[in-house]
Symmetry: C2
Subunit: 461 residues, 2 copies
C-alpha cells in the first residue's frame, strides 16, 4: 500500500516551483488587500485561510481564500459595504461579485482562482454572526496542529475522496469538505490508519477529538442521527460533517473496505466514464428495456447550492406521484448546467386501466368506502372481499400512460422547488428513449447520461 500512496503523493503534491509560484501570488494579493484597506481609511485585518494557507492544496488546484476581518461593532450593512469596497478595489475590473450567505468577490489572478471574503473578527467561534466568520477560527485551529507530514496525509485523503466521488460539501455533492478531511487526519493521524477505521464505520459514527461529549449517544441525539458526526473543535454545537449524505457516507466506507482489500491507484485516479455515442445510447436503452424519460428546462439563475436541492425536491415530487399512481421507478437523477435535467427511468410506461382499491379490514366499517365506490363511475368491479378479509373495489386508473401523466405533473408542479417551478412554467421538454439523442448533443448532459447508464462505483470502472 505504501508504494501506492507514494505514487499518489508524487502525482498530487505541489512541486517546490508551484509552491513558490502560489506563495508569490499570495504575498502579492495580501499586499494589495492591505493597501486597499489603508487607502480606503478602514480598520481591518487580512487573513489567508483554506488549503493554500495550510499546505493542503492539490497540485493544479490552488484556490486562494483571502478573508478581510472587520470589528464586531460594525453593523451588517457597514460590514458588507466596507468589505465589498476593499474586495472590489483589490480585484478591479477582473472581479466578479457573488453571493452565498453574504456577498464576496471572486477573481482570477495569474491564472489562479481567488476569493475575497469580508467577515467579522469574532473572538468566540460559538458566537459568530454568520458561517464565514468561522473560517478564521478553523484556520487557526488547523495551522497550529498540522505538521508537513500530516499535510501530506490530508492530500492523500482529499484525493481519495475526489477519486471515489465524495469530495466536496456543496449541496450538489453532499460529501466531505477539505476542512473535514483535515479534521479526520488530525483525529486518525494518518491516511492508512484512517481507511482502517473508516472500513468499520457504521451510520451514526461520532468523532469527537476534543471529547466535548463524554457520552456519544448524547451527540447522536443532538445531531439528529446524521450518518456521520464530526464535532467541530472550534464549535461543539456544529457537525463538521453535516453535509455528508448517507449515500456518500456509505460510498466512503465501501471505498475504504475495498481499498484495504486491494489497494490500487484506481481509488485515487479512477477511469473516466466512456461517453455514449447516439448509437451507443440506442444499444444500451435496448439492452435495459426500460422507459427512460428526461425532463429538460433552462436552469433558473440561482447558485448551484440553491438549484440542486430544488432539483432533488422536484425529482422526489415527480417520483412520488408516479409511484403513488402505480408506476415503478427504477432509478432517477438530476443534473444542471445552463440547462437542468431530471431523469426518471420507469420499468413500464403503460399500465392497465384497472387498479385495486383496498378498503377496510374486517374489524372496521366499510359502509362509507362501499357507498363512495358504488356511486363512482370509475368502479369496474366490486365490492368484493379478498383473502385477507378486506373489502376491495377494482376501479379505473386515472392515468395509465406515463408520458401523459408526466405532463400533468409538470403542469401542476406540486411540491416542486420554487425557482424550478418558475423555470418549468416558462417552458420544458420531455425526451424519451431515442429522443434523448437531442439533449445528448450537450457535452455536459452527455457525460451525465453516460455515467447514469453505466453507473459503477468509480474504482470498479
Amino acid at each position: 500500500m505504501s508504494d501506492i500512496l507514494d505514487e499518489v503523493l508524487e502525482r498530487i503534491k505541489p512541486t517546490k516551483d508551484e509552491i513558490g509560484f502560489v506563495g508569490g501570488v499570495v504575498s502579492e494579493i495580501i499586499q494589495r488587500t492591505n493597501d486597499a484597506i489603508s487607502q480606503l481609511g478602514l480598520t481591518a485585518k487580512t487573513m489567508l485561510v483554506g488549503s493554500v494557507a495550510r499546505g493542503t492544496w492539490l497540485r493544479h488546484d490552488p484556490d486562494i481564500d483571502i478573508f478581510i476581518l472587520f470589528k464586531e461593532t460594525l453593523t451588517r450593512e457597514e460590514l458588507e459595504r466596507k468589505g465589498m469596497a476593499v474586495a472590489r478595489k483589490v480585484a478591479g475590473p477582473a472581479g466578479e461579485e457573488k453571493f452565498a450567505e453574504h456577498p464576496y468577490v471572486t477573481m482570477k489572478f495569474h491564472g489562479i482562482d481567488i476569493d475575497l471574503v469580508p467577515c467579522y473578527d469574532v473572538a468566540d467561534p460559538r458566537k459568530i454572526k454568520s458561517a464565514v466568520d468561522r473560517s478564521p477560527h478553523h484556520q487557526r485551529y488547523v495551522e497550529g496542529r498540522l505538521t508537513p507530514q500530516l499535510a501530506d496525509e490530508v492530500l492523500l485523503l482529499k484525493q481519495f475522496a475526489l477519486g471515489t466521488g465524495v469530495y466536496g460539501a456543496e449541496l450538489k455533492r453532499q460529501g466531505f469538505s477539505g476542512y473535514l478531511c483535515e479534521l479526520l487526519i488530525l483525529h486518525y493521524s494518518s491516511f492508512s490508519r484512517l481507511v482502517e477505521e473508516v472500513s468499520r464505520w457504521v451510520p451514526g459514527e461520532v468523532i469527537d477529538t476534543l471529547s466535548y461529549y463524554p457520552d456519544k449517544s448524547e451527540a447522536k441525539i443532538i445531531f439528529d442521527n446524521q450518518p456521520l458526526v464530526v464535532v467541530d473543535p472550534v464549535d461543539p454545537g456544529r457537525n463538521a460533517a453535516a453535509a455528508v449524505s448517507l449515500q456518500n457516507f456509505s460510498i466512503f466506507v465501501r471505498a475504504s473496505q475495498d481499498f484495504l482489500d486491494r489497494p490500487s491507484l484506481r481509488f485515487f485516479f479512477p477511469k473516466r466514464v466512456k461517453l455514449l455515442t447516439p448509437a451507443g445510447l440506442d444499444r444500451i436503452l435496448k439492452r435495459r428495456g426500460t422507459r427512460l424519460f428526461c425532463i429538460v428546462f433552462r436552469s433558473p439563475k440561482v447558485a448551484p447550492d440553491v438549484l440542486y436541492p430544488q432539483l432533488r425536491k422536484t425529482e422526489k415530487a415527480i417520483v412520488t406521484r408516479l409511484v403513488q399512481e402505480g408506476f415503478e421507478v427504477l432509478r432517477s437523477d438530476v443534473w444542471a448546467d445552463s440547462i437542468s435535467a431530471i431523469l426518471v427511468e420507469l420499468s413500464v410506461s403503460r399500465l392497465p386501466s384497472v387498479k385495486t382499491r383496498i378498503g377496510p379490514p374486517p374489524n372496521i366499517s366499510a359502509k362509507d368506502f362501499i357507498r363512495e365506490h358504488l356511486s363512482s363511475r370509475n368502479s369496474l368491479a366490486g365490492p368484493m372481499v379478498d383473502i385477507a378479509g378486506r373489502v376491495i373495489f377494482e376501479v379505473k386508473r386515472e392515468w395509465n400512460d406515463a408520458l401523459a401523466f408526466l405532463r400533468d405533473i409538470m403542469s401542476q408542479r406540486v411540491s416542486f422547488g420554487k425557482h424550478v417551478s418558475e423555470a418549468v412554467s416558462q417552458r420544458y421538454w420531455i425526451y424519451e428513449g431515442e429522443g434523448l439523442k437531442e439533449p445528448l448533443k450537450d457535452s455536459g448532459f452527455r457525460e451525465f447520461l453516460s455515467e447514469y447508464l453505466t453507473r459503477r462505483l468509480p474504482w470498479y470502472r
Copy 2:
C-alpha cells in the same frame, strides 16, 4: 325486516306435502337398512342424521343421511367390510361407492339423494375413531334442543349463508356447514339477533355456548387464531367453524352489517351472474386493459375436497413465482369441473430486461455480494450505492415475458399439488386474452369467468 323473513320462509320451508313425502322415503330406507342388517346376521343400529332428521332442510334440497352404527369392538377392516355390505344391499345396483375419510355408499331413491354411512357407535364423542363417528352425537345434541320455531330460524340462516355465498364447509367453499348454522341459532336463538351480533364480530370471535373455556383468550390460542371459533358442544377440542376462511368470515360479517342497514330479499336470493358472450368478453378485457392468463388441464380423478386445496396450492405457487420475478398479479382464482382452470390476471405481461438487486446496508459487508455480481454475465450496471446507503446492482432479468415464464413454471411444477402436477405433466393449455373464447364454450367455465370478471358481493349484483 320481519316481512322479508316471512317471505323468505314462505319460499324455502318445505310444505306439509313435501315433508310427508320425504318422511315416507326416510321410513322406507330405514326399514330397508334394518332388514339388510338382520338378513346379513349383523349387530348394528340405524340412525337418521343431518338436516332431514332435524327439520332444517331447505325445500327442494332434502339430503337423507343414514348412518349404520357398529360396536367399537370391531376392527376398522371389519367395520368397513360389514358396513359396506349393508349399504350395498340397501342401495342395490343404484348405489355408488364413494370414499371420503372412509368408504360409504350414495344413491338416488325416489329422486332424493341418500348417503349410507357406516360408523362406530362411540359413547364418548371425544374418543371417536374418525370424523363420521361424530355425526350421531351432533344429531343427539341438536335434536334435543331444536324446537320447530328454532328450526325455522336455522332455515333462514342457511338461506342467508347460501345467498351471500358462504354456505358449505367443503374445501371448495370454506364456509359455514349446516351443523354450524344450527349451533349459531342455538347460541343466539334467532336469525335477527344473530345478524345483529355477527355485524359486530371481529376476526378471532369465540363462541362457546357451554362455557368450556372460561377464558376466551385460551380458546383463541388453542384454536390457533382461526377467524371464527365455535366450540363444538360434543367435543370441546374441536372448532365447529374450522372450515371458515377469513375471507368468508369477513363476507358473512359484511353481509350482516349491510342486511341490518337495508334488509332485502337479495341477501337470500341474489341475482344470477350475467353470462358473458364472446363479444362481451372482448369488451370487458379491453376495458380492464390487463393480461388475463388461464391455465387449463383435465381434472385429476380425485374428490373436490382433494382437488380444490391442490388447485389453490398450485395457484399460490404460480402467483408467488410471478411476483418474485417482478410481475404484478392483480387477481387470481381457480375452478374445476371435468376440466380444471387456474386464472392469473397480470397488470403487465412484459417487464424491462433490467431489475435491481439490493445488497447489504452500510453496516454489513458487501464483499461477497459485489464479487458474485461482478463476475456474473448478467450485471448491467453496478456496484452503486443508493440513497439508503445500500449497495445495488442492476442485473438482467431472467424472465421478462410472462407467457414464456408461465410455461417454465408449468414445466418445473415446484410446490404444485400432487395430482394437479401429474395432470399438468400430461397436458395443459394456456389461453390469454381473446384466446379465452375457446374455454368459454364450456358452460361451467363460462359461469366462472363471467363471475370473476364482474365480481361483486352477491347482494350488490
